[in-house]
Amino acid sequence: MSILKKALTTAALASALLATTAQAETMRIALVAKALGIGFFEAANKGAQEAAKELGDVEIIYTGPTDTTAEGQIEVINSLIAQKVDAIAVSANDTDALVPTLKKAMDRGITVISWDSGVAPDGRQMQLNPSSSPLIGNMIIKLAADNLPADPPSEVAVLSATTTSTNQNTWIEEMKKVEGNYPNVKVVGTVYGDDLADKSYREAQGLMQTYPDLKAIIAPTSVGIVAAAQAVTDAGKIGQVNVTGLGLPSEMAGHVKSGASKSFAIWNPIDLGYSATMIAYHLAKGDAKAEPGAKIPTGRMGEVTLDDKTEAAMADPFVYDASNIDQFSSIF
């Protein structure tokens, strides 16, 4: 008897849950996270909701698997295909494994874009990167320059990850290309902390000893920037040496408050979710096309331009300083 009762309760529960599904003429855009319960993606959802409110006729379905597996994400996407959503914007757990499922979605007329972590070109119409290497390279040196006197040139050093880190090497290369635009910065050297906290710390100490007049350390790695800020703090050089680069607000909050780092940058997940929604909306509506060279409007973020791999960069990395660190340090 109790078994039957349980069965009935389950069914009743299921139908109660189902009954809440609303139907209207609104466009339904699914924002698929790598996994639920990650601050970064929750923040992206906040941005997506903001875009939906602005657009008016959009409903956001924010969903994702419980853990970061491709199989889980495929199950989620299958159920979105079944619901005939208008667009899917996914941050992929696997570049390749999602392709067959997303192809099927596109075959059935669903707009598919990837954002943050991309899908191979066959499986999406466009990929939205949070930023681009030239923008990042420019941003990290600009952050250093903004906090230095206009004259004379100040000594600045770079603390990178490993010598073979593709990302960091590209960003530093891009940074050196635009060094001429910042006459008050003189890059004196690059050291490698291998993305290990203790090695990065020692390398930062070494930099301050080698260059006694050092005014700033640029660390385009989330491990390096924290270690460098700690080294500056421990050496009692807060105010003398500014640490900047790329880091996570949650890890950098203390160092921003202590003044060891005046500002640093990283992508803003809210803007990313906002832009992904805007792009998905315009593509699904048909008033923008995902082809090389195309421009797609992204509301308050301006517009993005697709390159020949149909990828687009959203914007400059977002700058975090004492004014906004508290708001973001709880997010990611």
Binding site: A7, A11, L18
Partner: protein, 328 residues
């Protein structure tokens, strides 16, 4: 149940649980039908043959393995390395594909790797008498570890188009290749467990391995064969999953082992061994597929979904006990 020959060993525990277990399959069927009705009443998208066909991927690969694992659990053993066997099989297929192997070779290698992994597990358990839970927790790390060494953070992509048939192909209309494999596997394992001497031996070993040995059953050989079968089914699942994903990463099929065990236990197979049926496992697999797909259609967050599945499982294990306590 007992109108067969006198030497027959009963496949149900002769305890107060018997009555509850007897109707287990019927109950699963009722629940599955109720969920099916609830889903189709509530979601306009549910009763679409194509959608249901897509949804079947939620359980087909896991269920293939669950049949073999059901036999293992009935015999009193367990295999927690099945997800890792998939990873290793898929990696071996990926290596062969990179070397230019065609679809038939890939399939053979996938099956062979599965069998080899199963043989390794079986050898350690049956030959050296090690506890299967310890052995397969070890090989769970070992097999997947090899995949990680081979692939690192890379991936094998570019499987031949004909290889895609297993995981993406249709036999006719909405009936996928995987569904057909699932169906055949259900029939073969059903016959094997319920209609052959081998099946009777599995029950006998699970009920009392010592008595089974004194009755002349070669316990080690049967157990070894069961691990071999589990490896083989994992190999088949690896072919399907790799074909469906069109790529191999070392994290492939992560967490499959627990979902497989969930299906088996939900299907009414006693985790202590000695009882259970294939039809129960089939129904449990379909039930899990319906529940996850139905909740997915309502965009219920995955976290809530796993809570529901967890509660379902606890209820399933607890119910027979509560039942027998209430009768006392």
């Amino acid at each position: 149940m007992t109108e067969h020959l006198g030497r027959q060993i009963p496949d149900r525990l002769t305890s107060p649980l018997t009555r509850a277990l007897k109707s287990w399959e019927a109950l699963l069927l009722v629940v599955a039908v109720l969920i099916f009705i609830a889903n189709s009443l509530a979601s306009p998208y549910f009763l679409d043959p194509w959608n249901l066909s897509d949804a079947s991927f939620n359980f087909t690969e896991k269920a293939m393995i669950a049949f073999a694992v059901a036999l293992l659990i009935i015999s009193g053993e367990i295999d927690l390395s099945v997800g890792s066997i998939i990873a290793l099989s898929s990696t071996v297929m990926g290596l062969a594909m990179t070397a230019g192997a065609g679809t038939p070779v890939l399939v053979l290698l996938g099956l062979a790797t599965g069998l080899a992994c199963g043989a390794f597990n079986g050898l350690l358990v049956a030959r050296f008498g090690l506890p299967s839970i310890v052995v397969t927790i070890g090989t769970m790390s070992l097999f997947r570890g090899i995949s990680y060494i081979v692939l690192g953070d890379g991936a094998f992509t570019g499987y031949p188009a004909s290889f895609g048939w297993f995981g993406q192909g249709y036999v006719f209309w909405v009936i996928t290749v995987e569904l057909v494999i699932f169906g055949f596997a259900a029939i073969i394992f059903g016959v094997l467990l319920h209609r052959t001497n081998f099946g009777r031996m599995v029950y006998a070993i699970g009920n009392n391995a010592v008595a089974a040995r004194f009755s002349g059953i070669r316990v080690e050989r049967v157990k070894f064969t069961l691990f071999l079968l589990t490896g083989l089914m994992s190999g088949i699942a690896a072919i399907c999953l790799t074909s469906r994903l069109g790529s191999t990463r070392p994290s492939i099929a992560a967490g499959f082992e627990l979902e497989v065990v969930t299906i088996v236990v939900l299907g009414g197979v006693s985790i202590l061994g000695g009882s259970g049926s294939i039809i129960g496992v089939v129904l449990a697999a379909i039930l899990m597929g319906l529940v996850t797909f139905g909740l997915g259609l309502m965009n219920v967050p995955g976290i809530v979904m796993s809570i529901i599945v967890g509660l379902l499982l606890i209820a399933v294990i607890a119910l027979p006990r509560l039942w027998s306590m209430a009768r006392r």
